[in-house]
């Protein structure tokens, strides 16, 4: 039974949206998602899952940001296969390297691509149990644009999904990494004043997927994203997000390790000041033996900024030899900022190693003095210590060139903020 206020909010939001045209399997997936959404309603302040982040701006019929900002391309300088999604629609590259297939969601909807049909909204629906993720359901029901990506072998260059715009877009991407394939997905851009993006990634046995995302550094945006991943045996997912500024960001990651010896690493380095609210909500399920998961979440907060971390490791009965690690840390650069952390472990197997920790601290004065005594001015010394603090999250980017690129970007942004 959905409370009345919630029902009203849901109806108000739905009144602004139209299910995209075209039937077929995609139409059915959309109808299914809409039915699921109507059953649970949009998130509200009273929902336990939204206790630390007010969803009002994400749920409202229209975006609250009047002057969205547009970012430059933070991956500039990296050789990528770039797909742009903007007000004009999707622009696919003319040629693709071996082992890579990309089509638009609309194209995929018209064709009977069985693997896309078996994924679209499917991982989202699975990830909505036991906790409902209505914003993702909304996305599945109404997203008109998105990419359907399949890697069938090692892909030589990263795929860069660049989204720009000023509106209120819903994007939904589906990625399938076949057995033995490896692909790197890069993302960038403020998709709009308010953006709702869902990415479903299915990594088959032995497949490898890297998912690196840069959000920011411009401030005028309300963002909520969902990453759903289903991991096969001996598969690997490494996801890293750099999140700089932004009035409201909620990044949810829902990972299911379903095959033995799979591994999933999820990390985020976030920094912001003032009117900045950044929420990482993560749920990792171990449902196979010998799997490894890592959650590394770091936030640097100043001038009254708020950081939220809700992270869970669920180890199901029989998921023996699980190796789970979770760390969430904040560096508060003043007394006004707040970090709210809710680490959770739920373990039903008896032979597992799970560790978790959460810390909140200030700049290390001794380290600051050490740097200043070498001639580094206070502001630059603080920036270096911020980089030092965030480094563990950046380590999840295995590729040296990409990691250094992100680190340089971050250093550059810190210098100018």
């Amino acid at each position: 039974m959905v409370a009345e206020a919630k029902m009203t909010a849901t109806e108000d939001r739905l009144a602004t949206l139209t299910v995209p045209a075209g039937g077929g399997w995609l139409g059915r997936a959309r109808e299914d998602a809409l039915a699921r959404l109507k059953a649970v309603g949009m998130p509200g302040r009273r929902d336990e899952y939204w206790r630390y982040t007010d969803p009002t701006a994400l749920v409202a019929p229209s975006p609250a940001i009047s002057t969205p900002t547009s970012d430059g391309d933070p991956w500039e300088g990296i050789d990528t296969i770039t797909v742009t999604i903007d007000a004009a629609g999707i622009t696919l590259p003319d040629t693709l390297p071996d082992g890579l297939e990309i089509s638009t969601l609309a194209q995929a909807g018209e064709a009977d691509i069985h693997w896309a049909r078996d994924l679209y909204g499917v991982l989202e629906a699975a990830g909505s149990r036991p906790v409902a993720r209505p914003l993702a359901m909304l996305n599945t029901a109404f997203a008109a644009d998105g990419l359907v990506i399949r890697a069938t072998g090692p892909v030589a260059k990263p795929v860069h999904i660049r989204t720009t715009g000023t509106g209120d877009p819903l994007h939904h991407h589906v990625v399938r990494v076949e057995s033995g394939a490896e692909v790197t997905i890069l993302k960038s851009g403020t998709a709009g004043a308010r953006a709702n993006t869902v990415t479903e990634i299915d990594v088959a046995d032995g497949g490898i997927c890297h998912h690196f995302r840069i959000q920011g550094p411009d401030h005028g945006r309300h963002v909520n994203t969902h990453l759903f991943a289903r991991m096969g045996a001996s598969s690997l997912l490494k996801s890293f997000t750099l999140s700089a500024n932004g009035e409201l960001t909620r990044n949810e990651a829902v990972i299911e390790l379903l095959g033995d010896e799979g591994a999933a690493h999820i990390a985020c380095a976030a920094f912001g000041k003032g009117d900045f609210h950044h929420d990482d909500t993560v749920w990792v399920t171990h449902d196979a033996e010998d799997c490894e998961s890592r959650q590394v979440f770091k936030k640097v907060l100043r001038d009254g900024a708020t950081g939220v971390f809700q992270g869970k490791i669920l180890v199901k009965d029989g998921a023996q030899k699980t190796d789970g690690y979770q760390i969430s840390q904040s560096l508060l650069l003043d007394d006004d900022s707040v970090f709210l952390a809710k680490p959770e472990l739920e373990i039903y197997a008896d032979d597992v190693a799970c560790s978790h920790g959460s810390t909140t601290g200030a700049i290390d004065e001794t380290a600051l003095f050490y740097l200043r005594s070498r001639g580094v001015p206070q502001k630059d010394a603080t920036d270096l210590l911020v980089l030092s603090f965030l480094a563990e999250a950046l380590e999840e980017i295995g590729d040296d060139a990409l990691r250094e690129h992100v680190s340089d970007r971050l250093a550059d942004w810190l210098r100018h903020h």
């Binding site: 005594s373 001639g375 580094v376 010394a381």
Partner: protein, 251 residues
């Protein structure tokens, strides 16, 4: 070079006087050593000179080449030519040793109105200086002091000193935690920097270090004051008889 007059220092948060009238002049080209028992104020003197928080100067003055340093920020003192080799060098995860050093060198150059050093030139210079201190490419790449042994940390301090080329070098118990071989390496690094335009203040408990870094002047510090000044023979006397006799004599 460094002139300290009647320096009185107390802890900022406590009513505890640490330095009670230190007078000390270190001339350019000279090596001065300060020895003294635990708690005599040696390390405090080094921290106050380099501008660490937590201390309050209640009286006296300190100048570097005639410039009042007590009013300067730590980074300004560094740019003015002051360097402190830490007793306990700090670990900074995630920041490469080389990145840190280049940032420091260029920050000082910028503060002095000089042009930044190019990446290529910097690499050439640092490789040469690191070689002398037996610091390999891996140590240069690793995060600052992370996973370094005690000896490696101290060698890294001397490498920083060699790269920053300060005028006034203060070494705070650089010999602590060093084995004989490491002490030789560190001393050679320091000796290579001895120069008519550069002065050293070497703080140590033991005469051992002074066998390698030969001082021109030795001071004995006790109870927050310099109580005795002499030549290198004073250090030998401490080694033979301990501080007890000396301090008794002064009292």
């Amino acid at each position: 070079m460094l002139e300290i007059k009647n320096l009185h220092v107390k802890l900022e948060d406590e009513d505890k006087q640490i330095l009670k009238g230190v007078d000390l002049t270190v001339e350019a080209g000279k090596v001065h050593a300060i020895m003294g028992p635990n708690g005599s104020g040696k390390s405090t003197l080094s921290y106050v000179m380099s501008g660490r928080d937590g201390y309050e100067v209640t009286d006296g003055a300190a100048t570097l080449e005639g410039e009042d340093i007590l009013e300067m920020e730590p980074e300004e003192r560094a740019a003015a030519g002051l360097f402190l080799a830490f007793q306990y060098p700090v670990e900074i995860p995630g920041v490469g040793n080389m990145t840190f050093l280049r940032t420091a060198v260029n920050a000082q150059r910028k503060a002095r109105g000089e042009a930044e050093i190019s990446a290529g030139d910097f690499l050439k210079v640092i490789r040469e200086k690191a070689k002398m201190l037996k610091i390999d490419a891996d140590m240069l790449k690793r995060p600052v002091n992370v996973g370094f042994s005690g000896g490696e940390k101290k060698r890294n301090e001397i490498l920083q000193m060699a790269m920053l080329e300060p005028k006034m070098c203060i070494l705070d118990e650089t010999d602590s935690g060093l084995d004989v071989d490491a002490m030789k390496l560190v001393s050679e690094g320091v000796n290579a920097l001895r120069d008519a335009g550069r002065a050293f203040l070497v703080i140590t408990h033991y005469q051992r270090l002074l066998d390698h870094i030969k001082p021109d002047v030795v001071h004995i510090m006790a109870g927050g004051r310099i109580v005795k000044t002499g030549g290198p023979e004073l250090a030998l006397e401490v080694e033979r008889n301990g501080y007890g006799d000396l301090l008794g004599e002064v009292a």
